[in-house]
Amino acid sequence: MKRIGVFVCWCGTNIGGVVDVPQVAKAASSFPGVVLATDYKYMCSEPGQELIVQAIREHRLTRVVVAACTPRLHENTFRKTLERAGLNPYLLEIANIREQCAWAHQKQPGRATEKAISLVRRAVAKASRLEPLFASTIPVTRKALVIGGGIAGMQAALDIADAGHQVILVEREPTIGGKMAMLDKTFPTLDCSACICTPKMVAVAQHPSITLYTYAEVEKVEGYVGNFEVTIRQKARSVDHTKCTGCGTCWEKCPTRVPSEFEQGLGTRKAIYVSFPQAVPNKPVIDRRHCRYFAAGKCRVCEKVCPTGAIDYQQGDQLIKEKVGAIVMATGYDLFEWEKVYGEYGYGRYPNVITSLQFERLINASGPTGGKILRPSDGKEPQSVVFVKCVGSRDPAKGKEYCSRICCMYTAKHAHQVLEKLPGARVYVFYMDVRTAGKAYEEFYLRTLQDGAHYIRGRVSKIYPEGDRLIVRGVDTLLGRQVEVGADLVVLATAVVPSRGAAELARLVGISCDQNDFYTEAHPKLRPVEANTAGIFLAGACQGPKDIPDTVAQASAAAAKVCALFSREEMAAEPTVAQVNQFLCYGCLECQKVCPYRAIEPVTVSENAAGKKIERTVASVNSGLCQGCGACTVACKPGAINLKGFSNEQVLAEVDALCL
């Protein structure tokens, strides 16, 4: 017979102010197997835990029920308490009488007490069915994969590599650098973005512990924490980078011009190209979609001019397999496609309505205009520039509900830059709120105001052309009247959204996304850089909109997490995994089909059947791969496969107890 102790927590007045705690303890004392039921003000406090330790020793308890807050909060705390008392930590069951009882039924204390007793009865029933569980260990491959070569990915890769571990960095564009490489200056210090970004790019390329795959995508991820096997697709560059010297003759001679992605469509590039002069690697790829040879079968100019014979039209995609122990997701962001929904702003038909990222290129010294602010329609200097914030952000009707967080600051920066570069120009900023939380941010904003930027609180309802100008109509909510502003250039601060393909990648890697497709962290407060799936970490804007310092901080944090994982050759695996009763298993392998982790394999067992030696196939669980979801347990008709910690026996006993 199990000897169960029940410990009911008051949680100060959190529970005790609603639930009649002594009554719950009294009721629990009559449940089968319960030898002790007591209560205490704060069970999770040191004296509270000590009370449990003493009680375990004194009453020779073999199972412990703690009725307190949600197990998601203190299950681990109390497991350690059991361990201190010499009990297996998995002989604990928690009854959630705070979140799911006291707090939810504050207005019905009687019913809350009744429910608490029921929840404790459930916990006691489960506790009496608990078995000791033991963590197994799994080996750790000390090599990390970083997906995305923007500032987040570069920082994470450098930090991990500097700690002495191998890193594989995969970037789908032909160059690393990401969005930061496109920016002109960074707020609030106004230092040159390229000046701080390009050295990082070079450091990554030159780091002996970093293997860089650009123009490559992650195709498949198998395995589990410490033991991932990833397949990387190196897209065909059509240029043999071992031969290419990056001399540039090919892209000079290439006859095809296409809009440049790097220049946000404001400039052009060739069909064989490097994204920008400081690109890493500084060697070209052929854009097969636009290349004349690939499109029409004629041309081959680059081949003819290449001094090293590096052009290889036959080159195919290459699949590379790598074993890694951890994965850092650093896939960054894209801009919300405002052209698709904002008809009132012209659906992108007016050339002088641009995005802020286009503005970054316009004002950048290495950009299409050489750093001169010229409006795209006719190359004239604008005399009046209107910035519109929250285009797609904070707009549940047309865009996203969330705040994109960086727009207030970069718009202030842009306003400041216009006023600096175009003396006499007028700058208007339409805004909903100005949010400047960050070191020296508010100061920067105030400086921009002093510079002469006109901030108008209100949304823009319409932008329409009049002559060669645009009229921006909005409402000034502070003055309570409609305003119309003539503009030569309108810059939209469009929402930050996860980079294209982020959700598909999440599915492929095995992590979850929120409703906006940003990657979900394991805990919003306590585990902000870990994904729900063990061994996968998050860095930068893929987890949510972020500015550069926050991105770099998170990337370093993710790297630190990876290094912690890599600090040992083996790690302990959760023991709540599936287990096969081979006697019951009849080898249909339905379990294998539903397992998302490929943790189930058939094995052959020999046995005696009615005097004959036979061999038969049964399922077997790799406890390192198993994550304990239990899908297999329901697929298994005879109940041969069971889940430790959530076994069929335990759940049935819980149901029985809840219905009593």
């Binding site: 707090w103 939810a104 959700a503 996304c513 729900n532 998302p596 347990t633 329901v634 889940l643």
Partner: protein, 153 residues
Amino acid sequence: MSLDSQWEPKIVGFCCNWCSYAGADLAGLNRLSYSPTVRIVRVPCSGRVNPAFIIRAFQRGADAVLVSGCHPGDCHYVSGNYHARRRFLVFKRLLEYVGFEGERLQVRWISGSEGAKFAQTVDELDRKIKALGPNKKMRQEPPGFSGVKDHEG
């Protein structure tokens, strides 16, 4: 089992640890008040919920069962809720076919951030079941003195 005004439904909830259980916690955290008739069994995933658990709940006197998991696409275990979805689409139809009121089995996708949806789901279910009255299908009385009857009784 009495039909008088004192009767309160007995509802067993199966909530996945990662989304719905967290959603239920959040409801409490935000002090959203909902009916205390739902009692939750924590499971790792909605894909862990065996229809036999639900059958057992009805046998033991549950008036309704709520199964709740992550939204499709959001499963912590990648695909558990997709399997659950198939299974419960079929199972719910089967229950209705043999004469259960379909409302007595509720399957809902509730994320960890949908505390309000959890509370609302529980209250709606509670209201529906109160309107339907106690479940009689498959219901057993607790075995004990009252359970002993003469065979012909």
